[in-house]
């Protein structure tokens, strides 16, 4: 071990840690706003990376059909329980509102699939496909039970993870895909060979974090989310509907996941089930911050990145064991720092 190696490993750690940090931020966001531990986050990463690769291969990815089917289900779910006449009367408006985005995304995807060299169009198409899936998942799976306990929400989240993983296999098959690099540039900084790709990952992550900070602190929607996170009932009283903040937080989470997916797509082989393990590492990062603190979640994710890089160097067979064992000292520390149980009392 010398300085060169340390630098190499740090570069790797920071690149991976940046992706984990994005995911950890999304997990904290969704958890504080909706109390959902959002396990299916990982599937959105896979969906984005694989959709991009499919588009580059000139195919319309199966996720487009999922999006359209999801839109129809949302309209159906919104109509359930209404008197028939009302439901019918509202149907056209609903169809337009709910189906516009999926159909537009589908159109872009079709167009993009016919232009396999247009990278920007592919990126736009991927974001347009994956982002609306977030609020759809919230509307269909979580909104009806928004008041259930953290435990029930977690079990539903795991069930949704199952469903989306199964669909990923149907859409993309069992083999992995890798998309074209955005840039094959690289340059030497001392002993380091820095690729434009890894700079892009770090740059995109930092930009996205800054943008999120801006959204939370400076925009009305962001403040609404913040208010819900701090006090659900209070936010409702001042007119922030929990369904709205739930869908908004899921949209943001899906958008962040899609960006993460786009960032890793050219650097690794992505399989239909890759996302799960990546998002679990984001989880370990978020747990460091007690699922509540954004800065600590970022620190935790970088810690995961460093631990992973280090253990893949020293003891690669046990790398994943070590990364997930990190949660033990973290929990121990939180546990000893907490004077008594934080368990919420049912009244």
């Amino acid at each position: 071990m010398n300085l060169d190696i340390a630098l190499w490993l740090s570069q790797d750690a920071i690149t991976n840690g940046a992706v984990y940090a994005l995911l950890a931020i999304a997990l904290v966001l969704v958890y504080t706003v909706t109390r959902i531990i959002f396990v299916p986050q990982g599937e959105f990463i896979s969906f984005a990376a694989l959709s991009l690769a499919s588009l580059q291969a000139g195919q319309v990815p199966g996720t487009v059909y999922l999006l359209i089917a999801g839109g129809i289900l949302v309209v159906a779910a919104d109509s359930v329980g209404l008197p028939r006449a009302v439901a019918l009367q509202r149907l056209p408006g609903r169809l337009i509102r709910q189906m516009a985005l999926p159909l537009a995304a589908g159109g872009i995807a079709w167009w993009s699939a016919s232009r396999p060299d247009d990278l920007w169009l592919q990126i736009v198409a991927t974001l347009a496909i994956v982002t609306p899936l977030g609020p759809m998942v919230y509307r269909l799976a979580f909104q009806p039970i928004a008041h259930a306990s953290v435990l029930v929400l977690l079990i539903v989240a795991v069930a949704v993870h199952y469903v989306l993983t199964g669909m990923g296999l149907v859409f993309f098959g069992g083999e992995g895909l890798r998309s074209n690099p955005y840039s094959s540039l690289s340059f030497n900084v001392g002993v380091l060979n820095v690729t434009a790709q890894s700079l892009l990952i770090v740059f995109a992550s930092v930009t996205l974090m800054a943008a999120l900070w801006f959204v939370f602190e400076r925009t009305l929607y962001g403040k609404a989310l913040n208010a819900t996170a701090i006090n659900r009932t209070g936010a409702q009283l001042i007119g922030v509907s929990p369904s709205f903040s739930g869908q908004l937080s899921f949209a943001l989470a899906a958008f962040i996941a899609a960006i993460s997916g786009l960032l890793i797509a050219p650097t690794t082989t992505v399989y239909y089930d890759t996302g799960f393990l990546i998002s679990l590492k984001g989880f370990v990062g978020a747990t460091v911050g007690g699922m509540a603190s954004y800065p600590l979640a970022v620190v935790g994710s970088l810690l995961v990145g460093f631990l992973e890089a280090g253990s893949s160097f020293w003891w690669s067979a046990f790398k994943d064991s070590l990364v997930f064992t990190l949660i033990v000292p973290v929990l121990l520390w939180r546990s000893l720092a907490t004077p008594h149980s934080e368990g919420d009392e049912r009244q």
């Binding site: 098959g173 890798r178 690794t268 890759t274 253990s311 994943d320």
Partner: protein
């Protein structure tokens, strides 16, 4: 309402117990087309579309069950196939643990098993188990021979952290030690890993003459890409689990020059006409690619198909001894399978005897190299 639905399902389950047998041969198959082995399993399963529905005028039925690459489910499937479907032979599975698990059941129920993956059991426990894939030591032996011919003295190893990674490493050691080739570093990675930088850096420090990758399918590409990114110039070897077109698609220019051992079917057209396997392999490749597209040939579908060819060669003798569905038939089928008859498959010539339930030799190995975006025969 919900409850009565459950009861109805329960009753239906009890009633559908009991199966059919008669003048029909039943082959029971369990494989994982989902789960961690999905990418291989789908190929294994595709080959069944090429298999005929009768042998010697006797109809043959394939019951294919899904095990999700989980040994517990594979065991459940094997039990179901034996007890419910009264199969005459079992085939499967995709992973070493699953295949090992069903081999135990084949032994217990005295049902011949055509194992489509290696089995982690000692030979004396394999009385009813016939193995199709080339033993990993045979394949890695060919790799070591090539290393020797290039005067390579040191190799680094990076393989999956699963049973496949274990097997390739063990076989590599087995051949490399007597050849005086040193394994200077051993690393592991997972299929879903986003980076292998740490492992690659460590391999580079050890400065090996060549690197051997113990991955499979597209998963094998990641270390080679990382090696080339870091400027590693030495040859990179893979194994027979790696060879398919997706590997090249994912790896792009970085995997150019990758060398891997494989069965003859992958490069059948380039083999000399004198190669005993050439005709069977070319026929199979053409039939397979007609259904699944040009370049879709792969070793795994070949294993399923060779399994079928082994059964096809043994069934006529077994039919003389008893009716399908009876213990006599299964006993005769096993005896015929280990009769020492030479069976030409797409992966090699199988001569399975009482003492050798694999029966493959050097004819089952060729080395292939990625050249110009396709797998080609490595010319010596």
């Amino acid at each position: 309402m919900r409850a009565s639905w459950v009861t109805a399902l329960g009753l239906a389950g009890l009633l559908c117990a009991g199966g059919a047998s008669g003048q029909e041969i039943t082959i029971g198959v369990t494989m994982g087309t989902t789960g961690p082995g999905a990418s291989l399993g789908i190929n294994y399963k595709n080959a069944f579309q090429l298999m005929p529905n009768a042998i010697d005028g006797v109809p043959i039925k394939y019951v294919i069950l899904e095990d999700g690459s989980d040994p517990t489910a594979a065991a459940k499937n094997a039990r179901q196939l034996v007890a419910e479907n009264h199969v005459d032979a079992l085939m499967g599975a995709v992973s070493v643990p699953s295949t090992t698990q069903i081999a135990l059941i084949a032994e217990e129920t005295k049902t011949p098993l055509i194992a489509l993956a290696p089995v982690a059991l000692p030979p004396e426990k394999l009385g009813w188990v016939f193995i199709v894939p080339q033993p990993v030591p045979l394949m890695m032996g060919a790799v070591v021979d090539d290393l020797k011919s290039k005067s390579i003295k040191t190799v680094g190893y990076i393989g999956f952290s699963d049973s496949w990674g274990d097997l390739v490493l063990k076989a590599l050691k087995q051949s490399a030690d007597p050849a005086g080739i040193k394994i200077v570093d051993e690393e592991r990675y997972a299929r879903a890993d986003t980076a292998v930088t740490g492992q690659i850096v460590k391999i580079l420090i050890a400065k090996p003459d060549a690197v051997v990758v113990g991955g499979s399918g597209t998963g094998g590409a990641l270390p080679q890409i990382a090696l080339r990114d870091r400027g590693y110039k030495g040859p990179v070897y893979h194994n027979h689990g790696t060879i398919n077109r997706e590997f090249i698609k994912v790896g792009g220019a970085a995997v150019d020059g990758a060398i891997a051992p494989t069965g003859p079917l992958m490069v059948a057209e380039e083999l000399p006409d004198s190669h005993p396997v050439k005709k069977v392999a070319v026929d199979f490749d053409q039939a397979y690619e007609k259904i699944f597209g040009a370049g879709s040939r792969n070793a795994f579908a070949g294993y399923s198909y060779d399994g079928f060819l082994l059964l096809k060669a043994a069934i006529p003798a077994a039919l003389k001894a008893g009716k399908p569905g009876t213990p006599e038939f299964r006993q005769a089928l096993r005896d015929a399978l280990e009769s020492g008859q030479a069976v030409v498959g797409v992966h090699g010539v199988y001569t399975q005897t009482k003492s050798d339930h694999i029966g493959l030799d050097g004819r089952a190995v060729v080395l292939a190299v990625v050249d110009g975006g396709a797998w080609r025969l490595l010319k010596k």
